[in-house]
Subunit: 476 residues, 2 copies
């Protein structure tokens, strides 16, 4: 198509160079820009508006399960990070250190939080005296810092924004239940709000969070067949409780260590939206999180009454609770159509002199390019259309995914499947060597353990009896 | 009163030791706790909920004047801070420095933002090509770091949360207008949402922001007569534009430096709420920002139907858009009444078996302790009562303030007024020496220049002709 041709001047062809397509899209739609310090990003208003919509939707869901927001300090004494043995091993190599402040050298170096288990457990240990103080269910929205060598906007940056939930419980059963509950909150959020179906399950020992007993992952398939770890939920057992003396007096009169969990998602989710739904024209945003759900384009806007009618439509939509805007800029319709397709607005409304005469407007869907006429008296049908788009986008993503999950019981099979842009279900004996061999030879890593029964299956590497069926994929 | 007596066991008497009263209130109501690193604070859920309400209300007001949110990196190259001469002088002494990251020494030290003019102007200079790209109107909600020697929760901490707006304009007139516009947005926000009447005006040269041409301050009078600088709006002229090469091609074809502004408010506002409204029993929160607007106390909750009726009331209020909760804890009514008075919930509803029989509940206002019966069929009057409380709290604060502004034309007069817990209007010649002399001898600093005409007045220090009437006060 001519339009697509014109477009590829600006944005790389996704079928030829997917990484360049991604970079072009996130930069040219003004979601993000590079910060002056290597590996940092500026989240521009259009990108930040998506983040705010994500926050609103998540906050509702957190509140519904009794979680409250709070804020903990960003600077953590270096000694805290070292108290939990696995934790320090995992995070020490990538922390940023504050050594001087207020013109003086500090007596103890401070770490900019890479995550906050340590400082939060320290505070919880102060706050919990008896079992009556439990559970503690707190989340924080914050910036975190992990010094990464290779960075890409949203996917991997030294500083990023996230939410991290931290809970403390009187019993193992309750903490385990919380871990799964939050995993499912995430799963439902991804499906209902981001229109992204996800793979969830437990991580292998090698891939789990540094300091966790068990980590559950939320893995999303991108259009290039790679997996994006889009969220995690950790059962921490008493690991951090013991490191931070997080004890409470139980109802039986005994002093016990609490059980804790933590769970997080980040601005990576914006990268997931781009790579799960986008096309050659750019972004395709699900209505629930789109900054502009309906863009109104006044056609021949210099003519009498066109701008006024466009504004009337915007006002009507806003009154229906829709995020709607009109684009009155001095540019051609074609340019505006392209621009808003690139920016992924779910619905475009065109209104010109002839439409006004006929009492209609043209409604164009971004997801499937369907164009229909809608009577100006029926604008209250727009919310329904947006709901339909949301559902159709999830359905479309499910369909793409369906054909992209293969099974392989040999390393060659894994390699061929991931080169075919697929996730692969692989029978695995459970040992670290076999897991690492697959990674070395195929560049695919264990994402999560699949729910499938492994009985009778043999490990794809060593041929011994398989313990689990594991999803392998190349990953961001 | 017996109740007050009982209470002072927990919270210091505000008339005897105001600073201790403040600390007791913010800690015991669980607004905040001390972080492990000296000078840091943990904002606990009850305090953070106030902050979220503040954010929601401010975001609405920012949006109404065309400002969008974004997010800029926290780490700023040290060289940036040094580019604007006054800016470095003001901020260099209190920055925290990151010198190592990812296990290596950095080639250039990075500063944790004390404020973001430098990095934001650097980005704006990339984003603005022509006058068509202007104005740029962006705000960010972020954490900032200023290494302070003496700290107090909310009032002065090394890390705090704030919003910082940064705008760039094609003309001086427009930038100046924006500076005043945002000052007025703040003023109205303080009055309408925090129920705090404020003093606004231009700051003296000595008190202005490091790098600004002019700083306008929002000063709030606390119950001890001291002033809290609760917000500032800066006209930056072309100072940062020149330091960061922030140029645009104007409509006349010439390349020009832009004019910029910045304006900010912080978690200090929570401290202002405490000290502008509190009383011997603790917090007194205005409904607009109160985390719990109505607390429902089931009296004799073990009796049949009491809890159910309490929950019915909560559900009804929530359906009216009110933040309502019931307190079902296993504690006496007296304890709960005290607890929620201390926590400053604007309205308490008591419901017991006899009330249910009579079809009424007891409604008790926190601000004036008025108790009335309300028919259970008239719960939809509660929003109106909350509105009334909001108005009455502002009115009460205005009244307190009215008698607390004096005039003095001598240093002795200033001293006596501030020791009497007042703001003082002082005629001033405009020279730094006289301003500093007042500060040295009275511990009161110039807050903002009053709108009053100074004609015919003599400087309170040197006796020369006064240029301005200035509000002096001791300040947080």
């Amino acid at each position: 198509m001519a339009k697509d041709k014109q477009f590829v001047k600006e944005v790389a062809d996704m079928t030829v160079d997917f990484p360049q397509w991604y970079t072009d899209v996130v930069i040219k739609t003004e979601l993000v820009d590079y910060g002056p310090v290597k590996g940092t990003m500026v989240i521009r208003p259009y990108g930040y508006a998506i983040w705010e919509n994500i926050q609103n939707e998540m906050n509702k869901r957190f509140k519904a399960v009794g979680v409250k927001n709070a804020y903990f300090p960003m600077l953590i004494p270096e000694s805290y990070i070292k108290r939990e043995a696995e934790h320090v091993e995992g995070f020490a190599p990538e922390v940023a250190l504050v050594t001087h402040a207020g013109g003086e050298k500090l007596t103890e170096n401070l770490v900019i939080r890479p995550t906050s288990e340590t400082i939060i457990c320290e505070m919880y240990s102060k706050w919990m005296q008896s079992y009556r103080d439990l559970p503690i269910l707190i989340n924080q929205w914050a910036n975190v810092m992990r010094w990464e060598k290779t960075t890409r906007p949203f996917l991997r940056t030294s500083e990023f924004l996230w939410q991290e939930g931290h809970t403390a419980h009187a019993s193992e059963a309750e903490a385990r239940e919380e871990t799964i509950k939050m995993l499912n909150v995430y799963k439902k959020f991804f499906e209902d709000c981001l229109a992204i179906p996800v793979f969830t399950g437990i991580k292998t020992e090698k891939e789990k969070f540094a300091g966790a007993v068990e980590t559950y992952g939320v893995e999303a398939m991108m259009l290039d067949g790679k997996s994006l770890q889009a969220g995690t939920s950790h059962y921490l057992g008493q690991n951090f409780a013991k490191a931070f003396n997080m004890k409470f007096l139980d109802s039986d009169g005994e002093l016990k260590y609490a059980y804790s969990t933590s769970w997080g998602t980040s601005t990576r989710m914006i990268g997931a939206l781009v790579m799960a739904h986008g096309d050659q024209r750019g972004l395709k945003l699900p209505p629930v999180v789109a900054p502009v759900q309906v863009i109104v384009i006044p056609v021949a806007q210099h003519k009498d009454g066109v701008k006024e009618k466009a504004q009337e439509i915007v006002d009507k939509l806003v009154s229906l609770g829709i995020r709607a805007e009109a684009d009155y800029r001095d540019a051609s319709n074609g340019w505006k159509f392209n621009e808003w397709e690139m920016k992924g607005a779910p619905l475009r409304i065109e209104i010109g002199p002839r439409d006004i005469e006929n009492g209609v407007c043209v409604v164009a869907r971004r997801d499937n390019f369907e164009k229909t006429n809608l009577s100006l008296t029926e604008l209250d049908k727009i919310p329904e259309i947006l709901n339909q788009i949301q559902k159709d986008m999830l359905e479309k993503a499910r369909e793409i995914q369906k054909d992209r999950v293969k099974f392989a019981d040999s390393i060659e099979g894994v390699l061929s499947a991931v080169e075919d842009k697929c996730f692969v279900k692989v029978p695995w004996c459970g040992c670290r060597e076999c897991e690492e061999k697959i990674k070395t030879e195929t560049a695919a890593s264990a994402r999560v353990i699949a729910p499938d029964d492994a009985t009778g299956k043999k490990c794809a590497v060593c041929g011994k009896e398989a313990k689990h069926i594991v999803y392998f994929a190349r990953a961001y």
